[in-house]
């Protein structure tokens, strides 16, 4: 009886006309796609390979900002980038062989602070402690302009659940020990383990 009723109902249903069906399908498809896009949590994978004070900023600033936007973020620290995961952050900057780096005075009268002081490579290479001085000046500028320290940005990243991942090969290569690094390191892995994460990310950056 039931089966007969169903059959009857099926026979009586007028055929949906093709154009109306297409319109309905397109509308449902757009709605569904919009929903998927709205529900999607963006993700970012950064590969950080440099450990100088200047090159420490891009990965941490991007990671912390993306996390603040609600993104899932992983940062893979490899080679000199691994320095950024050390317990003791003692990062320096080298103006030598870095011609684009502005050499500006962080203190003094305004005209002096605006001046770009060109220093010959020979002088930069020859004066002991030149890098220490340049680092000090850069730190002073960062502080004057209200830019966060690397330590602060790293803490903010950890607080926002950014995954900081260390490269095990680099640890072995430079005879380092995992104890030298902050305990919050999410994992110690190699390229083969990080690439699948990067593959599924919306944004991938190499710094």
């Amino acid at each position: 009886m039931n089966a007969t009723a169903q059959q009857l109902s099926h026979q009586m249903t007028p055929e949906l006309d093709q154009a109306a069906f297409q319109r309905l399908f397109d509308q449902r498809f757009d709605e569904r796609m919009a929903q998927i896009e709205a529900d999607h949590i963006p993700s970012m994978s950064i590969i950080s390979t440099k450990g100088t004070l200047d090159m420490a900023y891009p990965p941490f600033i991007l990671a912390a900002t993306a996390a603040a936007l609600g993104w899932d973020v992983s940062v893979f620290f490899t080679f000199y980038g691994l320095t950024l995961l050390k317990k003791d952050l003692d990062l320096e900057i080298s103006p030598l062989g870095n011609p684009a780096m502005p050499m500006k005075m962080p203190v003094g009268p305004e005209w002096l602070q605006k001046m770009d002081i060109k220093i010959p490579n020979l002088v930069m290479a020859g004066i002991p402690g030149f890098e220490k001085m340049a680092t000090g000046m850069m730190k002073k500028s960062l502080n004057n302009k209200g830019v966060a320290s690397i330590g602060e940005l790293r803490s903010l990243c950890l607080e926002a659940d950014v995954k900081l991942i260390g490269c095990q090969m680099t640890v072995d290569l430079f005879n380092m020990n995992q104890d030298e690094f902050i305990p919050e390191v999410d994992d110690w892995i190699g390229a083969a383990s990080f690439l699948p994460t990067a593959q599924k990310s919306d944004v991938t950056l190499f710094v």
Binding site: I61, A64, T65, A68, L69, K145, G146, V147, A148, E159
Partner: protein
Amino acid sequence: MTTAAPTTTLDARGLNCPLPILRTRKALTTMASGETLLVQSTDPGSVKDIESFCSQTGNELLSASNGDGEFKFVIRKP
């Protein structure tokens, strides 16, 4: 639209990118739905950044104003 005083005030003056955004996010996580946050900032980049932050995170930017090199944003947590 809303004349009621904001629930919380965040002083991000003197801070530079991305700190105003990070502090804003942190302040919002401690707030209840429907509450409003006033962010004070001196970073010109924060104008676009706060706008982008709100549109990405679903928070509502009720107002943005600029006076004497200081920016004020009122954000409502959804």
